[in-house]
Chain length 363, copies 2
Amino acid sequence: MGFEIVARDGAARAGRLATAHGAVETPVFMPVGTAATVKAMTPEAVAATGARLVLANTYHLMLRPGAERVAALGGLHRFMNWPHAVLTDSGGFQVMSLAGLRTISEEGVAFRSHLDGSRHLLTPERSVEIQRLLGADVTMALDECTPYPAERDAVAASMELSMRWAERARRAFTERPGHGIFGIVQGGVHAELRERSARRLVEIAFDGYAIGGLAIGEGQATTFAMVEASVPALPEARPRYLMGVGKPADIVGAVKRGIDMFDCVLPTRSGRTGQAWTRAGALNLRNARHAEDPTPLDPECRCPACTGFSRAYLHHLTKAGEILGSMLLTWHNLTYYADLTAALRSAIRAGRLADFSFGGAAP
Amino acid sequence: MGFEIVARDGAARAGRLATAHGAVETPVFMPVGTAATVKAMTPEAVAATGARLVLANTYHLMLRPGAERVAALGGLHRFMNWPHAVLTDSGGFQVMSLAGLRTISEEGVAFRSHLDGSRHLLTPERSVEIQRLLGADVTMALDECTPYPAERDAVAASMELSMRWAERARRAFTERPGHGIFGIVQGGVHAELRERSARRLVEIAFDGYAIGGLAIGEGQATTFAMVEASVPALPEARPRYLMGVGKPADIVGAVKRGIDMFDCVLPTRSGRTGQAWTRAGALNLRNARHAEDPTPLDPECRCPACTGFSRAYLHHLTKAGEILGSMLLTWHNLTYYADLTAALRSAIRAGRLADFSFGGAAP
């Protein structure tokens, strides 16, 4: 899986990830398409925001419709009619947050489906196999997402287990052109564990490196400190992915610290609850102050919500619980995130990241 | 409001309604846009189905966001970003089906909002005023939708009240180019009451004539009998609208009996519950037999659901409760209805309506 760095500005990089389903410019934000759909969006609309890489969730898809079924139907790209690149997570995070009766062992994690109670075993090898069946361009190694807060010894043991799983996942991965597997740095909020984890993954040698187990309540300063502890141990020439991050200011700060890739449910989930991210900051469209406002949500935005409708109309849709409200605000928020990362790429290429601002996202 | 008949085939007509927001080819099916949105559809998507006239509900809009507010925001077309024609109902039907504590008098109907319990009075004059504030191309006169079944005397008295209201609505209507007001034939399932009602409306002289209070449980044969009782009393040169109808076969049968316009929640509502109308008949996408089916929903359909996705994917979305399932199936169903009515127009122009068939909609 090719990755080319085209510009640098301080620790930040602008790059290009070459996948089997096209090139992806970095820094990149990946819309979350949990169940083989970015919620409330057609694939054409997702692409219209500028997105060329989406994330899909292994845990959800292995349970419904099932990885073998997706494979029989031609793989995830064809199933969801998405011609661009797909990254799948390992399933580990959502097993821990959604599944029932979890038992973690050296072998993997046994759990019950939250949908029907059926029993499943997710091992590093099975996770890689599922992601191959789905047809992921980028596969993630199975890790244990260590809870926060946790004792240092427990965090260290959990990280070491994740590293042994990472080695098994790497071995199980079948090399194919334009496809790659990323390892995931763990280690909680302990800088030396993060560094040790990063070094261990580099020894195993992955196509890219994720930093996981953050943005789960530790606060932005700690998140950034853990990024700073991990990045120096990672190879310059490989992409770096900060998982589950985040708010616009989190993304700007992480890009400045050398991160290339992001995913977060924030723009999609908040779009379904009336929350919009704009160049003037975050807005709650449910607020009555928008009820008679004829102005667009964000006058600088190119999305259909901003070019076709007033804040008053978006307020009305949100109050009335209309699906179109979720559709338009999701479209807007994903456009905002796409334009934010495009602006970050431009700033890096221009060597002007230090004074970067993007409306409310000035870090 | 101009109406030109361009072809006839038996009692059926192909025509063109000239509104302030463009021409509408008839027979026409109007998608229902209750709260200033055709649920789960962008206006661009609605137009892409071929629709050029949508229905919006006065009852819903008078309560939220309010007619005066919509007027202050530039009217319904601008509010919902729909550049084509809009027909608004009178509010009467939904007052009877949704509102609380209704009291009908000669003056109008007093009721409480189902949203917040607030008190309102809907009179024939206020209904016309609300529809003018909304900016409707086609205004409907307020009627009392007689319950079914009901005693003949009660039906007659209700119809006579509706006729007095129709006269008041006609007087309250402000003539504007490209705008018109339709009266509504009532009379339950009694042919002579229907005929009397139609004659009374023609004396008042409307821009078009609707047949209301049908498709509420009386059965297709009775619906058609009431159409046959009403149509001969209506002027040839004016459009005829069968309200709240219906299934594809209902539409085909009514067109053959001289009806030009239709509306129904069926394609939109059923799209949100996994039901699809196809040339091979109706399908429930929730059914497990679609789970592994790689074929399109309707191979002859031009909509995004049929050209981009498999039945297996639509089944998955429906089972998972994904918004995209509602979006795609609504888009498909509205495309089906638009193509059905386009095929009816072609058949009338070709003089071949007698052997009309459209997949499962052969009457």
